[in-house]
Amino acid sequence: MIRLEKRPEPSKAWSAAAPVLAVVATMIAGGLLFASLGQDPFVAIRTIFWDPIFGEFAFYYRGQLLVKAGPLILIAIGLSLGFRAGIWNIGAEGQYIVGAIVGAGAGLAFFPSESFLIFPFVILCGAIGGGLWALIPAILKTRFNTNEILVSLMLVYVAEAMLASVSSGLLRNPDGQGFPGSRNFRDFPAAHNDYIIESAGIHWGVLAAFGAVILAYVLLTRHILGFQVRLTGEAPRAARFAGVNPTRLVVFCLVTSGALAGLAGMFEVTGPAGQISIDFNSGYGFTAIIVAFLGRLHPIGILLAGLLMALTYIGGEAAQATLGLPGAAIQLLQGMLLFFLLAVDVFANFRIRFGTREAA
């Protein structure tokens, strides 16, 4: 008989090793999956995990890595603060969209001005847009005790409807012959989030993501506010006893995560995406939830998890193109990663015992 036995304390070694083990397990299970699809598993795994960084066309993919990882990390850092405190913002996708709309709208209002103040203003508006969108579930939760998971999730669909509306209405490119979609920010340098180092894929949003990682790290390990966030997640009554104001904490966590998601949307629309369009959003807000958990809700972990997740996106696309793997197989692989992580996680808190009778 195999039994699980609770450890007196979570094992630090297992906690640290879990993501690595999960990646290895994903590669093995993924390899089996690809083999069953008639592919050479080693080639497929190499194509996804190795070639984008070290392969022949790595010079192209490497840049893409940060472009994709930037928004994932930025959003996941915000989400992790709330998740730590037991406040579940599932609607980052909506905050991402609203941040993009408000940021882009604020910039386009000044078209074609060339003032250097426009880009900072766009950044500010992106954060405010996302923050305000997240303030809605915050207020409803603290005032009327609604469930923030449902409210924030449903607001994603409202945001998507708004996106469809503004891209064919309010923000439509007046010179676009009636096609839906806003002006392209490449034609509007004052508000354009241009690459700083193009070969590395670094734009202002990537820098913001790195900055968020550092700030979150300092907040969680060195600041009383981060301590209160962690305490609330660990033991809500103890947090109240320690003087944490639950209402303020809910608002702080939701608005911060909303603002960071809004920033990510704003940097995306003014940079890599280039314009507001109906299908501008690409699910970063949802994928970031996986990134946050894969990174153990720890800023450094999220940085690595964001890069890994971006890698599976890029490698997955490459595998689809070169090996003809179906897209669903790649999504399965990403899902497996979270699945194996949660499975391995069990061993941080439990140990396996073999045998029928416990020994002294």
């Binding site: 979570p10 060195r222 600041h223 301590f227 660990e234 033991a235 009554r237 103890a238 003087g243 002294a360």
Partner: protein, 507 residues
């Protein structure tokens, strides 16, 4: 009475890392009231769980009336005539008494017949109980009667009672003891688990004392003093708290007409509470659990805020301040629930030290935390209060209950409060640690602090408090000096037998 009912030979049960019972042997005679005495963690619960068929022993034998007895389920144990009243009741509040009793029976008779039998048993054994009342309306003592009657209907040969008096007022205890004596005189043996020594001395014919899973002695408790029993239980000499060296100062904390509506729908609202504590004074607040103790602590600690004038510190209104503002001016608290309220289970001791110590110990500046200082504070608590742990980096939940309690109380005491409120400071703590905690509270009072001790342990309150008041359904009685207070008076203050007259025990 000397006929052997249950004999236990060499019972052993080990859990990972701890031997709960190590070759335990003793016998219970028919009609004997047998006490099982020991500190928390001595292995009492494991032992009775084996007798009741909830846990299977690793080794050893049990014999019931000379025959081999190996219950593999509580059902089997019940069929052999063993019944048990647990410390925590398993009753449905929305059902009436008879329905609750029926739920615990294999083949319940029709309700009318059952109600008749409940009335019969309750009259025979002096346990007043109306079968038609809803359990939700009953007091803790009455709920316990439901459990006892449920057991008595099975006509048991051995009745196991786990800490039965912890929820009762002294008058209710008297009623219970009458019942138990009557049962015993009819030949039902009773295995009585407790750590309350005076009770055991008045009630029990024999006692088996457990320490760390082993039988360390057996005696006739009537021939021993409570102190001798305690020392057998603990294994060391106990020292009596030293109450000397205190002078009463001015009024430190003043509570004037405090009313708080409970945030929990099943909680108790505080109603018009008045109390004052002087510097150097210990006020003991007794009462059966669930009468507003937690809410009172929350109102004084600042977790629940009230009108400014309802609570005053040295004459200054503080009722509107939150926990941290009150810490700043010297009001500290240690709640009852260690894991999850007084401490965060999965956080390290350093982090738990920071949790309430940040303000008075200056462990943060401009919001930035000073970890080395927090660590030092945690180490100081561990050292001063003899907290057994490999180090401050270990999680709070890895500590035993008593050690964590020492940490939690020590954390507040070392911050030199002007007013300290503690709820159940020695609950689940072994006797020597409890003595240390009580002494620390007295020393703090001697240094001029005003202390409120909320506790359900009346002996503890009599030992350390200068004044005693009782909480009953959210109301606080006027405090009276503990000197010369009789157990009857205390019982009346605690609400008597919850307005139920002592039923006449039928002859």
């Amino acid at each position: 009475m000397t006929d052997e009912l249950l004999s236990i030979e060499g019972l052993t049960k080990a859990y990972p890392g701890v031997v709960a019972n190590d070759t335990v042997s003793f016998t219970i005679g028919q009609g004997e009231v047998h006490a099982l005495l020991g500190e928390n963690g001595a292995g009492k619960s494991t032992l009775v769980k084996m007798i009741y068929g909830l846990v299977r022993p690793d080794a050893g034998k049990m014999r019931l009336r000379g025959e081999s007895f190996e219950p593999n389920s509580p059902n089997a144990a019940r069929q052999s005539g063993i019944a048990m009243v647990f410390q925590h009741f398993s009753l449905f509040e929305a059902l009436d008494v008879a329905e609750n009793v029926a739920l615990g029976m294999e083949n319940p008779p029709p309700q009318r017949e059952l109600a008749r039998r409940i009335r019969e048993v309750s009259e025979t054994y002096g346990l007043p109980l109306d079968p038609a009342r809803l359990v939700g309306d009953l007091s803790a003592g009455e709920r316990q009667r439901v459990e006892i009657i449920r057991c008595l209907l099975q006509d048991p040969k051995l009745l196991i009672m786990d800490e039965p008096t912890s929820v009762l007022t002294p008058q209710e205890v008297d009623i219970l003891f009458e019942t138990l004596r009557k049962l015993s005189s009819e030949g039902t043996a009773i295995l009585y688990i407790s750590h309350k020594l005076e009770e055991i001395r008045t009630l029990c014919d024999a006692a088996t004392i457990l320490r760390l899973g082993k039988v360390v002695g057996s005696c006739n408790p009537r021939e021993k003093s409570a102190r001798e029993l305690a020392e057998m239980m603990v294994g060391t000499t106990l020292h009596t708290p030293d109450r000397t060296g205190r002078t009463m100062g001015e009024v430190a904390l003043d509570v004037i007409g405090l009313s708080v509506k409970s945030s929990n729908p099943f909680g108790t609202s505080l109603r018009n509470i008045h109390l004052e504590v002087h510097q150097g004074e210990v006020l003991g607040i007794g009462g059966v659990a669930g009468n507003g103790q937690e809410d009172l602590l929350a109102a004084i600690s600042g977790e629940v805020t009230t009108a400014p004038d309802a609570i005053k510190l040295r004459g200054q209104p503080v009722g509107h301040l939150g926990p941290n503002d009150r810490r700043k001016i010297g009001i500290l608290a240690a709640p009852e629930d260690r894991l999850g309220h007084a401490a965060a289970p999965d956080m390290s001791l350093t982090e738990n030290a920071l949790m309430t110590g940040a303000i008075r110990q200056g462990l943060s500046s401009n919001g930035f935390l000073n970890w080395p200082a927090s660590r030092k504070f945690a180490d100081e608590i561990i050292k001063s209060f003899d907290v057994r742990t490999p180090g401050a980096s270990h999680a709070a939940r890895s500590l035993s209950g008593g050690n964590l309690q020492k940490f939690v109380i020590g954390r507040e005491i070392l911050q030199k409060p002007d007013v300290l409120v503690v709820n159940q400071p020695t609950w689940g703590v072994d006797a020597s640690a409890a003595a240390a905690i009580r002494q620390a509270l007295l020393d703090l009072a001697a240094a001029g602090a005003a202390i409120i001790v909320i506790s359900q342990d009346l002996d503890e309150l009599m030992e350390i408090a200068d004044k005693f008041a009782a909480l009953n359904e959210g109301r606080l009685t006027a405090p009276r000096p503990t000197k010369g207070l009789t157990i009857d008076q205390i019982g009346m203050m605690m609400g008597g037998a919850h307005d139920m007259e002592v039923a006449h025990v039928a002859d």
